[in-house]
């Protein structure tokens, strides 16, 4: 578990530190339990029975078990990118697909790999392939993202973030 203070004071990753092919440190979560799923359902007030009622999921919906929520996955990838950028970078954008169901027992590995980098208006834009691998190397959320990392000696990334024109 990483504390908020540790994130605020972590060593900054700079634009200069990465290049195409750089693999970012992965985030490993799990094994997930029904409690994890139920906690998210409660927090989101998502009461669909496929997320907490195993009999309903198996015998009514023909699912393998109760399922991890898409909205949970949608929270994890941005959180991972945000943590990569802290304290002074910015997780600008991410898009991904939901391709595989997540069930209790799964351990997830959230990952990112640099595909390219470019400067725009003095900001260091880093393009990434991203995903969330399940046990058995099943990719459940393939996608792409762009983060903004500080350039050494460069200008500060504005907050609130202002996207460079045409980037």
């Amino acid at each position: 578990m990483v504390s908020a203070d540790a994130l605020r004071t972590r060593q900054q990753l700079h634009y200069d530190d990465v290049e195409a092919g750089t693999e970012m440190p992965p985030l490993v979560i799990g094994p997930l339990t029904p409690t994890h799923l139920f906690r998210w359902s409660a927090a989101m007030e998502n009461w669909h029975r496929i997320h907490y009622d195993q009999n309903f999921a198996i015998y009514h919906e023909d699912l393998p078990s109760i399922l991890g929520q898409g909205s949970w996955k949608q929270s994890i990838l941005p959180r991972y990118l945000k943590d990569l950028c802290l304290p002074d970078g910015w997780a600008w954008k991410v898009k991904f697909q939901h391709r595989a169901m997540i069930v209790p027992g799964n351990t997830l590995t959230v990952w990112a790999k640099v595909t390219g980098k470019r400067e725009a208006e003095g900001l260091g834009l880093v393009d990434l392939d991203v995903g969330m691998r399940l046990d058995g190397d099943i990719e459940s959320c393939p996608g792409t993202a762009t983060i903004v990392l500080p350039i050494r000696g460069g200008r500060a990334i504005p907050y609130p973030f202002v996207a460079p024109k045409g980037a």
Binding site: N55, I58, Y59, H60, D62, P64, S65, A100, M101, V103, P104, G105, N106, L134, D135, G136
Partner: protein
């Protein structure tokens, strides 16, 4: 999707550690995206009961064969009760 119950024997699974090693990880019970081993019970008389839901029975048969079960019977489930909840699955 269909649901089936198999009754048979797999003596090694009387050992709890071996049983867990064969069935705990999701990749062990989610055989493939459309085949799930939902329940396995080890009975005191040495027999075992396994429940599967799958697109077709052959997928369950393949799992039983791969695990080395001595199968006594495999039957499709029509409906069931789970602590008062009634499910029609056949």
């Amino acid at each position: 999707m269909g649901h089936w119950i198999a009754i048979g024997r797999k003596p090694e699974w009387n050992d709890l550690e071996a049983f867990a090693g064969e069935l705990k990880a999701p990749t062990k019970w989610r055989v493939d995206p459309r085949t799930t081993i939902t329940t396995v019970m080890v009975l005191a008389d040495g027999r075992m009961v396994a429940e599967c839901h799958a697109a077709k029975r052959e997928d369950f048969d393949a799992w039983l064969n791969q695990k080395g079960w001595e199968v006594e019977s495999v039957s499709q489930i029509r409906h069931l009760a789970k602590t008062g909840e009634i499910w029609k699955v056949g």
